[in-house]
């Protein structure tokens, strides 16, 4: 097994752990953390594949991940802003089953 | 030389495990954040070693940024008003 293959598997594991966290933890900050873990898994994957040929590293995935990191932090900050204001209004930090009344 | 430096980096990585135990055991938030700070320092050392091993001088810049920004989290922890004791649902 090569170094990229090892990191590719790690990426898959981190992504799967994120999936589990997203599905099993209702607390919203945790769900946001889980989404971030999943994102990091994808990023790791892209960069590990970019290194398959150690002589010629592919710069395109690096640029894609850099863009992805900025998007991830934007989405995270937006989501956390909603969580804060939801908490201020309702005192809740998870989404109950809001059936229509 | 390469092997030695990498070995040292691996040793530092092992050190992190001890710190992780502290994050896990707590008991207070301060214990946890101090352990995380320790990780920051260790990371800087590892980056410096890796910069030598892999001949990527850019990694020294990374270490520099880490050193500069390590304070942000500490100040964030100390300065944010504490609403109450840690208790969650």
């Amino acid at each position: 097994m090569s170094q990229p293959a090892l990191f590719v598997l790690i990426a898959a594991a981190v992504f799967a752990i994120g999936v589990y966290g997203l599905l099993s933890r209702p607390q919203l900050v945790r769900r946001i953390l889980a989404l971030n873990l999943m994102g990091n898994g994808v990023f790791l994957l892209l960069v590990a594949f970019a290194r398959r040929n150690p002589e010629t590293i592919d710069p395109v995935p690096h640029a894609m991940v850099l863009t992805g990191i900025v998007i991830a932090v934007s989405a995270t900050a937006f989501a956390l802003a909603i969580v804060r204001h939801l908490y201020r209004q309702t005192g809740e930090v998870s989404l109950g089953e809001d059936r229509p009344r | 030389m390469t092997a030695l430096a990498l070995g040292m980096a691996a040793f530092l990585l092992l050190n992190l495990a001890a710190g992780l135990l502290r994050v896990y055991r707590g008991p207070s938030g301060a214990d946890r954040i101090i352990a995380a700070q320790l990780f920051g320092t260790t990371t800087v050392a590892m980056l410096a070693l890796l910069a030598m091993v892999t001949e990527q001088p850019g990694l020294f810049d990374v270490a520099l940024v880490f050193v500069l920004l390590a304070t942000v989290l500490t100040v964030a922890f100390v300065r944010l008003p504490r609403r109450s004791q840690e208790r969650e649902r």
Binding site: Y20, S24, V29, A34, R51, L66, R84 | A17, L69, V72
Partner: protein
């Protein structure tokens, strides 16, 4: 020997990453999850370094250690209370559900891992090869910067839109609440203690110099507008935390200008090249580097300010330690 040690290092790193991720998800205490997520970010920086991606290590250091961590910690402070835990579903159900979720996640891992390992290096004309071949024609030496600001500049431009939308969206969350509950999420520190004051005084010029250095060095190596902007934003967070920046309920014209400056300069540069008969953002010969530099300076500021505003939770910021007025 070196290779063996390298393997040991990578193996340890891999193991730590997976264990940390698992613990972030599984921990019963939110604070522990957040701290471990920050540590996960540190190790991601090491992983980027091992994978020869210094640009990403730098971005991780600036964004992960600075902004994301601070955002998570401040949210934690905001939402953890003494209220008793709300009634939960019966434990058995939760347990069964979790087993199901774990099986699902395991399935994802198995299929994903299998699919990934089945991938072979593509034979066709890959984008990466072309990128390396054409870097010499872009006016910058660094391939990643060339991809970000020339080959795929349109991606970078739209990404600035995402950042702007995050700021507008956070304002929409504020607009969604009754006006009485106020705007400011929390008020910064009560003033300088001797150590913090000295520290901030010492760090601020250093951080600004480093940000400038990162911006300039991006043309030749790891660095660039993102990293510089994120480092500047971390400084803003520090100043906000120590009360040297205070929140404003409305952003002034200058700050609104800085918010959209990156997007505007980038778009106008593209439309300008198009007006001279070229494709959108097809830089004229010889003018590529100056144009990229101007765009990068604008981007740096337009990355830093939104991140600070998102952390601040306010529409604007102002210098000084004046009393917060509602």
């Amino acid at each position: 020997m070196g290779e063996l040690v390298g393997w040991v290092f990578d193996g340890l790193l891999a193991l730590s990453l997976v264990l940390l991720a698992a613990r972030v998800v599984a921990s019963a205490r939110l604070f522990e999850s957040i701290v471990l997520f920050i540590v996960f970010g540190l190790l991601m920086a090491i992983a980027w370094a091992r994978l020869a991606a210094p640009h990403l290590a730098l971005a991780e250091a600036a964004i992960g250690a600075g902004i994301t961590g601070a955002l998570l910690l401040s949210t934690f402070r905001e939402i953890v209370t003494d209220q008793p835990p709300s009634a939960e579903a019966p434990k058995v159900l939760v347990y069964r559900l979790r087993v199901l979720m774990a099986l699902l996640a395991g399935g994802v891992f198995a299929v994903l891992g299998w699919a990934l390992l089945s991938i072979e290096v593509p034979a066709g004309p890959a984008a990466g090869e072309q990128a390396r071949a054409l870097v010499a024609r872009t006016g910058v030496d660094d391939a990643v910067t060339a991809v970000l600001l020339d080959f795929r500049a349109y991606d970078t431009l739209l990404e600035m839109g995402v950042l702007l939308l995050a700021v507008l969206g956070a304002r929409a969350a504020v607009a969604a609440q009754p006006p009485a509950s106020g705007d400011d999420l929390w008020i910064g520190g009560e003033g300088d203690t001797p150590m913090v004051g000295a520290l901030v005084g010492l760090l601020s010029p250093l951080i600004i110099i480093v940000a400038g250095y990162l911006l300039w060095v991006g043309a030749y190596g790891p660095g660039g507008a993102f990293q510089a902007g994120a480092v500047l934003a971390a400084l803003g967070v520090l100043l906000r935390l120590t009360g040297r920046l205070v929140p404003l309920p409305r952003a002034g014209a200058f700050q609104r200008g800085v918010l959209v400056m990156g997007l505007a300069v980038f778009s106008l540069a593209g439309l300008l090249t198009m007006a001279t008969g070229r494709a959108f953002l097809q830089y004229p010969e010889g003018l590529a580097y100056p144009m990229i530099l101007v765009i990068e300076v604008a981007l740096t500021l337009s990355i830093a300010l939104p991140l600070v505003l998102l952390f601040s939770g306010s529409a604007g910021i102002a210098a000084g330690r004046s009393q917060h007025s509602p």
